[in-house]
Symmetry: C2
Subunit: 314 residues, 2 copies
């Protein structure tokens, strides 16, 4: 697999980043990804401070490779989350859901590498102007929180890669080695993979949720809650209730009232697959197994080689 | 550029198909595409029978290359449209908006090659089972009428290409040579390009509409009319009215009433850019010029080479 400049900067073997996913990407998943040659990322958004510290320590005990932390900037304890991450030796920060101006300089002054997640060219340009080291550009097909412009990966990657001078990491819709090669072909310096890595033995998604993902079909995710914060959900009872409210023209407040609090945790971590919020990317409908992360990476490498030979076969 | 098996079957130099687009892809555009080494396609859906015959004749007078016809199967004169096309020497039919079972065998018995347009793996499999020669799989980012599953090109192409044994043509989101190479990398046998070819001197889109497309930004198309037939529209007064109705929970009938008849013609062909229906793909926001189709193809070829070298640099 192509070694990009970003591989050297991040000290990773393959240009693959395991997405930081709320409730499902803890120490075990991040360490497994790091040990498999990818960038392992602890999804810290949902973690209380003690848990965050212990998860970083645990991940560091499971791998000698560099780890990153994914921090949505909207939580009240964000400054403490940052301090703990730095204290525990994290050098790569993936930030989202807030202004890239807010902590970038501070983190860089502490010797950290800052990647901001965004969903359009104009927002990516703002990240570059704010001085981040790299951007993750996430398409409409991605699971979880999603951009308002609904731009897809195929539309975004060639354009954003061409127009920005910092490295662009492509996210949304990737699970096969063929798509990884396609992303690099379009100019991405690395590919972020979420749903396929959530569907591994090491992710902390509840088994009931994993089973539901395996059984899902291609038409089973929907972008919901557009009047609140758009989020791609796997269909279930909760999603159907939101769909019905939206069909009737419910406003932001009505949607927020029905969403309430704690549904993502109860769904994805605790396995309430009826009333919980189940975040997943479109690609889940095509993934038919749960296996160790290292096996997923092995498959990606062989699919990559196959796709490579399809084009570069003299 | 890679010569796929489909290039040989369709007798084209490049694995690129100019999309048949209602009101904008007549004889001039189809002949220009054919002369540039692509498959030229007359978008016949909107054409009355006399116009259809004269457009095929005109196209044939402008090129010696093979031409295809794009026929949505929902118009009342569909059988006559087919007869006229066969009489005028068309050998490649691209069908959509109806069952692939309906005319495939009939057309194949007349020596024609049948390609059906679809938008999900399950629908593509049904096309294969119906015996079509190839499928066009169109992602959410595409302009005009769109699938209900909202699956994107990046999600669909690797999976559909892997699971079908007939050739898969990728559509939706393509305009640069880098994306064309990415599509082929993921297993497509050809790439269909719509919006980029609509934004050429040879397309019959009205100049006012072309200018609006050039000025558009990345956030300016929206998938509307989902309760009727989903269609990706460029923002304008009409689109905003539909958005407002949808926001309030309008039902199918209310949407159809507001849509009325003839809006696509008045918008795209006649240039009523306020009240007309303007169909366009997401990629329009990144296209900043109108130029001859041959120049577009030339640019695609050089971008393709650049993307090729990005990966294959021994």
């Amino acid at each position: 697999m192509k070694q990009t400049k970003l591989c050297a900067e991040l000290n990773i073997k393959y240009p693959i980043i395991q997405a930081g996913m709320v409730w499902v990407s803890g120490a075990k998943l991040a360490a497994a990804a790091a040990n498999a040659g990818c960038l392992g990322v602890i999804g810290a958004g949902s973690m209380k401070l003690d848990l965050l510290r212990s998860q970083i320590q645990k991940a560091n005990s499971l791998t000698a490779k560099p780890l990153a932390i994914n921090l949505p900037l909207l939580y009240k304890d964000i400054e403490k989350q940052i301090e703990i991450s730095i204290e525990e030796g994290i050098k790569i920060f993936i930030t989202s859901a807030g202004s890239p101006k807010k902590f970038t300089k501070y983190l860089q002054n502490k010797g950290c590498y800052v990647i901001h997640v965004t969903s359009s060219f104009l927002l990516a340009k703002k990240c570059e102007d704010a001085g981040v080291n790299a951007v993750i550009i996430e398409g409409f097909e991605a699971g979880g929180h999603n951009g308002r412009a609904e731009l897809t990966s195929l539309v975004l990657i060639p354009e954003v890669s061409k127009q920005l001078s910092i490295p662009v990491i492509a996210a949304g819709g990737f699970s096969s080695g063929a798509s990884v090669l396609a992303g690099l072909t379009m100019g991405a310096e690395a590919i972020q993979i979420g749903t396929r890595f959530m569907m591994t033995t090491e992710s902390s998604a509840h088994d009931s949720y994993k089973n539901l993902l395996v059984e899902s079909g291609e038409e089973d995710t929907f972008l919901r809650l557009k009047k609140h914060v758009p989020v791609r959900l796997l269909k279930n009872k909760f999603e159907a209730e939101i769909a019905e409210l939206e069909d009737k023209g419910a406003n932001k407040q009505e949607l927020e009232n029905h969403l309430g609090r704690g549904r993502a945790k109860s769904g994805m971590l605790e396995g309430d697959i009826k009333d919980g919020e189940l975040e997943a990317g479109q690609i889940c409908g095509f993934i038919k197994d749960i296996k160790p992360l290292a096996k997923v990476v092995e498959d990606i490498l062989s699919e990559y080689d196959e796709a490579y030979k399809r084009i570069y076969n003299p």
